[in-house]
């Protein structure tokens, strides 16, 4: 393909417009990684500029540099054509740059107003002489927030508490926060990752409104479809380098995918048809609450059989976490039943569920999956340390543990200097391999995997996907929970879509289309919003 001209966009802009924001030759090194390698990027006034790339391609690093959170090792930043230094978020804000981070930078117990004015508080005029000890003027601030909210059609209530707001609204609070600071340039870092397709569409409307009123937006994502929906230009990064900039009118999905991944083939698993056997897990009318006692899983029923992968699709935060925790004994079940291999395990302790033959790859590998300060060796027997051959009675047999660890490390290709290395010093992919190795080492009848490849490199993703399919082919029942629709579609034999704690519908994977699933994930079933 010759349409990609890396220098074209930065050295010779097609018109004489001065970019509002320009990054020239930015280089940033982290220990062992070249996160940004002489990256050029420019943002024209009044455009939505999409930035596309895989996890770890260097998008977030570049944006963090523009926002003053990192300092570049080389290169310069120009705003409205003038070279400038941005050494802190404070500078960035002063230069008119606002950022909506992937993980929202909000303080849940504070109100919307308090969150927005934080760091730039409006004060009661009479007490102003007391500096930071003068009285806050919440009323004036709330008034301005209302005005901004009205002007850009954001519909934000200044008196609400952040913790009570749904994710989509929290995101708008973030946008108001930037506007309140008179931002002319908005950086939106993966804003759609936590949204349903419908909410994403609403966001796109807001983005277009913002641009119409003169703002410029950098929009980061790794989803191709969104690029075509909203952007004026698209830049693609891969492995720390800027691959090129194109317009959505001239680009195709295939072309962008190739620029992003660097090779033609997109992940495709060789998978034979499933041969489902007996029922392994049966869930009946399950109801579960989250930590704040809100019911997040409601009336959920399904079955998983030997030799099949049941995928649970859904936007993050629709009860998947609570469901998995309830199934593995980590969370109390309010009502309903869980039957594993014919035995009732509704209120069983995690250990009993494990011993019955369940493997669990948890969502958060740092919180639940690993003890980061323990060596790889100990992490590989985290669930079986008390069973023979690893222990006899109370005594642990280190030799047996070491022997098994060596075997697993080799078999699962865990790249570690030694089995004595602490799990915390491994890369994310290798950490996940340790967990998968541990969970598949036992004769598991049921494998529950929750977001198995989040934040991993392509190699590890492929490896883990292969292992999951292998487990299925050996007759294991697999419950796969993932927010990545692609992952679900390529692995699952049947797909259940979860929305607001309920399973809306279960489809055969072969028959399901992306559009159909997308609608279900947004809560639309049979043309009606649930």
């Amino acid at each position: 393909m010759t349409t990609v001209l890396p220098q074209a966009s930065t050295t010779s802009p097609p018109d004489s417009m001065i970019p509002v924001l320009q990054a020239v030759g930015i280089t940033k090194r982290f220990p062992g990684v070249l996160a940004n390698d002489h990256v050029h990027f420019d943002l024209r006034p009044g455009e939505i500029h999409g930035l596309l790339g895989e996890n770890g391609a260097g998008k977030s690093t570049l944006m963090n540099i523009l926002y003053g959170l990192y300092q570049p090792d080389e290169g310069e930043i120009r705003i409205n054509g003038r070279s400038t230094r941005i050494t802190s978020p404070h500078d960035a804000i002063a230069q008119g740059i606002g950022m909506v981070h992937q993980h929202f930078m909000l303080v849940p117990p504070l109100t919307v107003t308090e969150n927005i004015i934080l760091g730039q508080e409006s004060l009661q005029p009479a007490t102003r002489f007391m500096g930071q000890l003068s009285a806050l003027d919440r009323r004036t601030a709330a008034q301005r927030i209302r005005e901004l909210s009205h002007q850009y059609r954001l519909d934000v209530d200044p008196d609400a508490y952040i913790k009570d707001l749904p994710v989509g609204l929290q995101q708008r609070v973030e946008i108001v926060k930037a506007l309140y600071r008179r931002a002319e340039i908005l950086i939106l870092d993966e804003p759609t990752a936590v949204l349903t397709p419908q909410e994403a569409d609403e966001l796109f409307v807001i983005m277009k409104e913002l641009v119409r009123q003169g703002k410029s937006i950098v929009f980061i994502t790794h989803k191709l479809r969104e690029m075509f929906a909203v952007t004026d230009r698209i830049s693609v990064m891969r492995a720390g380098k800027m691959i090129g900039t194109v317009t959505p009118q001239t680009a195709t999905s295939e072309m962008l995918a190739e620029m992003m991944v660097g090779r033609k083939v997109i992940l495709q698993i060789d998978k034979s048809p499933a041969h489902p056997g007996n029922t392994v897990l049966r869930v009946e009318n399950l109801q579960v609450q989250d930590d704040r006692h809100a019911t997040t899983v409601q009336d959920v029923s399904f079955e998983v059989r030997e030799g099949e992968i049941l995928g649970i699709a859904g936007v993050q935060g629709n009860g998947q976490r609570e469901l998995v925790e309830a199934l593995t004994g980590l969370r109390r079940v309010v009502s309903g039943r869980v039957i594993l291999l014919g035995k009732e395990v509704t209120h069983a302790m995690p250990r009993r569920i494990t011993e019955l033959g369940t493997g669990h790859v948890p969502e958060d590998r740092h919180k639940h999956g690993l003890v980061l300060s323990f060596p790889v060796r100990d992490n590989l027997v985290l669930c079986t340390y008390y069973q023979p051959p690893f222990a006899r009675g109370l005594e642990i047999d280190e030799y047996a543990i070491a022997e098994r660890s060596q075997k697993l490390v080799a078999e699962f290709d865990v790249r570690t200097p030694s089995i004595r290395t602490t799990a915390g010093s491994l890369s994310g992919g290798n950490q996940q391999k340790v967990i998968v190795a541990r969970e598949l080492d036992r004769p598991v009848k049921l494998l529950i995997v929750n977001q198995p490849t989040r934040g991993l490199d392509v190699g590890s993703i492929e490896f883990i996907h292969r292992r999951i399919v292998q487990a299925r082919d050996r007759g294991t029942a697999v419950l796969l929970v993932s927010a990545e629709l692609d992952e679900i579609m390529s692995l699952a034999d049947r797909i259940a879509v979860m929305y607001k704690g309920r399973i809306l519908e279960t489809l055969e994977a072969g028959a399901a289309t992306r559009e159909q699933l997308g609608l279900l994930m947004a809560g639309v079933k049979g043309g009606v919003h649930v």
Binding site: N64, L69, S88, I93, M105
Partner: protein, 368 residues
């Protein structure tokens, strides 16, 4: 304080909070039952004057605990756990005593009038005690903020260090041959406020400066924490420091200043022992009050008025201990003396599950 019109901490949203009402009813019932039992134990001699006197003394005993609790509050609202309060108070008590005695002696030799010298040395002692405690707090800040050590270990270091320093100076300079000092602060009434019926004689009469300061500081902390930019930033730093950082707030600076302010408050609490309670210094004289202050802070759900309530419970326990020891010599004095500690455990076990600490409490902040 009635301030339903102004925005208050998120826990109290509606006008009437049923839990608060229920708590209030239970509190009153408990107080009445408590009085009846107490009165029976000391032989039914506790009339209205005695009740007022008891409550007056309760506030006096609550002062050091409340100040310790405020120290913890300031630190933990900015997400720095401080279990070194005990040590900071001990330091304050020792410095206050030493300065009070030696500054007075020195001034007498230079011919300053005794009354004036006493007055000056007491206030000087208070100032230096507070500074010494503040220095320890800064050390805690440096170790836990800059060097990112485990904050509970750092607090323990502060405690051990304070025991070491005070023990050493006590043996070297304060154990024997101490010149006569000017004594503790004299009590005084607050004009006008002391005339308020019932409340006046309980709160505003016959107390000494640090107790009045404690009451003032309660209001002050509430104002600063919930109505000023500084308080807003502090709370943000305690809940989500990364968010504060992205808005250009210097997380480290906010934490340092709060820890320092907390240390100063603990210094006042320490000075209470030797400038208000008794005119001697003993090693380990703080007797765990710093830890009790932490319990009061947890009881009060990290709010100043709540912490004050916790401190008052302790103060009442301590008052009863004293009264019982005095009126009932037949009970071995050790048992009434256990009361405040047992009370603290009970209060803590009853309330800790419901209290919600700041989300980032205890976590060192790593800049990206």
């Amino acid at each position: 304080m009635s301030n339903s019109a102004m925005a208050v901490p998120p826990q109290r949203k509606g006008l009437i909070n049923y839990r608060q009402v229920i708590n209030l009813i239970f509190g009153i019932a408990a107080a009445v039952a408590f009085y009846l039992v107490f009165n029976a134990m000391i032989g039914g001699q506790c009339d209205a004057r005695c009740v007022i006197g008891t409550l007056n003394q309760t506030i006096r005993y609550a002062a050091p605990v409340a100040l310790a609790a405020y120290c913890g509050l300031m630190c933990e609202r900015a997400a720095v756990i401080n279990i070194g309060i005990e040590g900071m108070m001990l330091m304050g008590a020792m410095v206050a005593y030493g300065v009070n005695v030696y500054a007075f002696t020195w001034m007498k030799t230079t011919g300053v009038d005794v009354v004036v010298a006493g007055e000056i040395s007491r206030w000087l002692a208070l100032g230096l005690a507070v500074s010494a405690s503040g220095l320890l707090a800064l050390l805690h800040g440096v170790v836990s903020i800059r060097f990112k050590s485990d904050q509970i270990i750092s607090g323990t270091v502060i405690n051990i260090l304070a025991i070491g320093i005070t023990g050493y100076f006590y043996r070297q300079y304060l154990a024997q041959n101490i010149p006569p000092g000017p004594g503790t602060f004299p009590p005084f009434d607050i004009p006008l406020l002391a005339q308020i019926p019932v409340l006046g004689p309980i709160i505003f009469a016959g107390q000494k400066p640090i107790v009045y300061f404690m009451i003032l500081v309660t209001l002050l902390i509430h104002y600063v924490l919930f109505y000023t930019p500084w308080g807003l930033r502090t709370r943000a730093v305690g809940e989500n420091p990364r968010a504060a950082d992205t808005l250009g707030i210097d997380v480290f600076r906010v934490r340092y200043i709060n820890v320092l302010l907390g240390g100063l408050l603990a210094g006042f609490g320490g000075a209470w022992f030797t400038l208000e309670a008794v005119d001697v210094f003993n090693p380990l004289m703080t007797n765990g009050l710093g830890f009790i202050g932490l319990a009061a802070m947890i009881f009060g759900n990290w709010t100043p008025f709540g912490a004050l309530a916790g401190a008052l419970i302790f103060g009442l326990g301590n008052t009863i201990t004293t009264t019982l020891s005095f009126n009932r010599p037949d009970i071995p004095s050790q048992f009434p003396q256990m009361l405040p500690y047992v009370l603290t455990i009970l209060v803590l076990t009853g309330f800790v599950g419901r209290a919600v600490p700041p989300a980032a409490d205890g976590q060192p902040y790593e800049k990206q």
